[in-house]
Amino acid sequence: MSDNPLHTPRALNGRAPDVFRKGAWVPMREYSQNEAVDFVVIGTGAGGGPLIARLAEMGYSVIGFDAGAYFRPLEDFASDETSQSQLYWTDERLIDGANPIKMGSNNSGKAVGGSTVHFAMVSLRFRPEWFQSRTKLGYAVDWPLDWREMWRYYDKAERDLAIAGPISYPWGPKRPRYPYRAHEIGGAAEWLARGAEAMGYQWSETPLATVSAPRGDSPSCVYRGFCRVGCSTNAKQSQLVTYIPRALKAGAEIRDLAMVGRIETNAQGLATGVHYHREGQWHFQRAKQVIVAGYAIETPRLLLNSATDRFPDGLANRSGYLGRNLMVQSNQAVYGRMKEMVRWNKGPPSLTITEHWNYEDKKDFFGGYCWMAQGPLPLEWSAAVSSSRGLWGEALRQKMMDYNHQVGLKMVGEMLPSMENRVTLAEEKDQYGLPITRITYGWQDNDKTMIQHALGEMQRSLELVGAQDIWRQENDTNHLAGTARMGFSAESSVVDADCRSWDVPNLWICDGSIFPTTGGVNPSLTITAIALRTADRIQTLHRQGKITL
């Protein structure tokens, strides 16, 4: 039998890969397809992972489906930028609009563990006011969640992921000490700090989901900087090495290389299970409750594709909001060259941060942004240089010689929701015979103003520390959100505060797509915190008899 995780499922026959030991396995409970399990969770990433683990730990029967492979980081992850494209969702998608989104490495993963297998580990909390951005800050919409409750779930998420962060974080309300100490900063991160000090802004070590000291079977980070192409040491606390092993231990089943194509609903309008493609065939798994956690493109795709006569516009789409309000985050950068050796690729890429403009409201645009130090690997860097600066051949070769002297600052900025930015189904079909998505995106004036503001600020920071040959990368975006907004009413949102769909009472959506607004920080910790809350809410609702199992 082939052991290529991209071709043959690994979680089979009562066992799943032991991610911490080469060639080893851990026992895995398996459920029959005819048995209606309590929960089917589609997607095992930042949202799905914690849900599967928590629900299983609460004693429910749970199966987690993922279209991606079950990797063994110690064996499958090469220190090679090109080979790691295996982690990205690279299935065909159509992109259009005024500013089409480049899909793939920068915004979607496909693996057990989801995008967290190759995410950059930046683990930030929302600014509390963002949960009420309409009421408190005058733009977009409010969330139906209370920030104080979220603060408690952030605590939990940070403990579960052993976030390594500063002793005290300069922005926002008090939070408990991070479970692990911040990592050593150097290279580009130190130049961010010096630049921020010169501007009179606060800076901090970035809270990261990679351990600075051993944790269980995870060794401490070795600072080789391959984080965004998969961490081959297991220092990175992705879902693959945290919640998924917990889920297995608690009796959950994981089905890898299992693409869910359709959610079945019955005459009463309730979900009854999922059709999924695995090992060359379509199967049906019965379930009492279905939770979708496929992220902001695949979640609406699946729900749109599950349309029936009763739900002609797709499941949970009475409001017409499904697929709409897609948001990316602006991810523009400014780069420069230092006289000194920098070696910016050593260590996790975003070791320092300034959230100054997330917490400062004297500005001529809505929303906020932060910026972080950068450390792209050589191929990624040469691609950025050649595409943004149009360099090629000898000129590119010469520029690459400066690699170890390069510094860079990259923003993560809040783009505002718009009904026109959306995901729809196209005519074309993919390898499973499912309609592929059309992703339409255009920046709004507010987005453009913020980007220019950020580029100016980042440039000033680099100028103040004496960087030369400064240039701007103006087109990058990352991190998806929206498309299945959480809200206060069935008319203007897809799910309620508990991530339960308004229309189908046993259908839930719990991933980045439920964000009404996306904030000016990376989203995964918020997704995980919401998933932990949802698990607790499910248990409460079950105890109150408001969920039938």
Partner: protein, 325 residues
């Protein structure tokens, strides 16, 4: 990668027991003279005259403790400064001086002559001064970094407390030479004070400083293994007991303090084993020795506690030998 995940079974029990004993020692030390087995000082008249042999023996023990500290610094600074690429030439200095201090300490440990040795004396003085200068260098390194005295720089900048280990080695060695020089018929004195008390107080203070250093670095490691609590609890208890002795009555049989110092000395040496286990827990463990020896917990560092505990024991000897005259 090692499978070690923290204390289980017997190791867990041992840790618990040590913790309980530490607490007991602390309690006893803070309650004052209760740790003495014979609290009453014998009458001056019945006291035997001060013995030069005993002074020399105590001096040799101090040489041994200075040597232990020097050995710890020698290997530790060699590894750490190699890791720092010997960016500044001055980074060779502690290696040279601690090697010299180690050599003269070995000489002193075996030397039974009752008089100070010029070269030993010189090396110890130099070593003490290097400790002070080294501290200056390390402070300078930290203030160059953005944020200056912030946790980040205390954790990862040049360790502020480390150079004082070599300084203490020099100081203890220097004391040892003074004790050896004690004129016949007199009790050993330093700066006009009873030597045992001074050395006891200095070793106690050294232990507190070393605890601070270990505490800082173990905090950096998030105390991820419960054993990491030992070096921040046992030595302060030893320091408290020792300080208690230094301020208490002379010629007292302080058995508990003695045992506690011995236990601390053993803890220091066994720390190397724990650190070796820690190295094994990093990526690829001992197979990746080149990297993990540099980045893992410093194997040579913990015996600094042993050096100081040995000095404390020598100080107890001095205090028990003579009453303060």
């Amino acid at each position: 990668m090692a499978r070690y995940k923290g204390p289980r079974g017997a190791a867990g029990w041992a840790l618990g027991l040590t913790g309980a004993l530490t607490a007991a020692c602390f309690a006893a030390a803070t309650r004052g003279g209760r740790m003495a087995r014979h609290p009453a000082t014998p009458p001056r008249a019945s006291e035997p005259p001060p013995s030069p042999e005993k002074a020399t023996l105590a001096a040799r023990r101090l040489n041994r403790s200075a040597g232990t500290l020097a050995a710890s610094v020698l290997f530790d600074s060699a590894v750490e400064h190699y890791r720092g690429d010997f960016e500044n030439r001055a980074m060779y200095t502690p290696i040279v001086t601690s090697a010299l201090a180690l050599a003269v300490s070995a000489h002193g440990t075996f030397d039974k002559s009752p008089a100070a040795h010029k070269i030993r004396d010189g090396v110890y003085l130099l070593t003490g001064v290097v400790g002070l200068i080294g501290t200056g260098f390390h402070v300078w390194n930290v203030v160059q970094k953005p944020g200056r005295f912030i946790w980040q720089n205390l954790f990862y900048g040049a360790p502020l407390g480390a150079p004082m280990a070599i300084g203490l080695s020099g100081l203890l060695g220097f004391f040892s030479e003074r004790v050896r020089d004690t004129p016949i018929g007199q009790t050993p004195r330093l700066f006009g004070l009873p030597a045992g008390r001074v050395i006891g107080a200095v070793s106690g203070a050294g232990m507190v400083g070393t605890t601070a250093e270990a505490g800082l670095l173990h905090f950096r490691g998030s105390f991820h293994d419960p054993f990491m609590a030992l070096p921040v609890t046992m030595p302060p208890a030893a320091a408290a007991a020792l300080t208690n002795a230094s301020l208490g009555a002379a010629r007292t049989d302080r058995r508990l303090t003695r045992w506690w110092l011995r236990a601390t000395a053993i803890m220091g040496v066994s720390g190397t084993v724990f650190h070796a286990i820690g190295v094994g827990r990093d990526m690829d463990g001992w197979r990746n020795i080149q990297q993990n020896l540099l980045n893992g917990p410093p194997i040579p560092a913990p015996p600094a506690f042993t050096g100081l505990a040995l000095a404390g024991l020598a100080a107890l000897d001095l205090m028990e030998d003579d009453s303060d005259v």
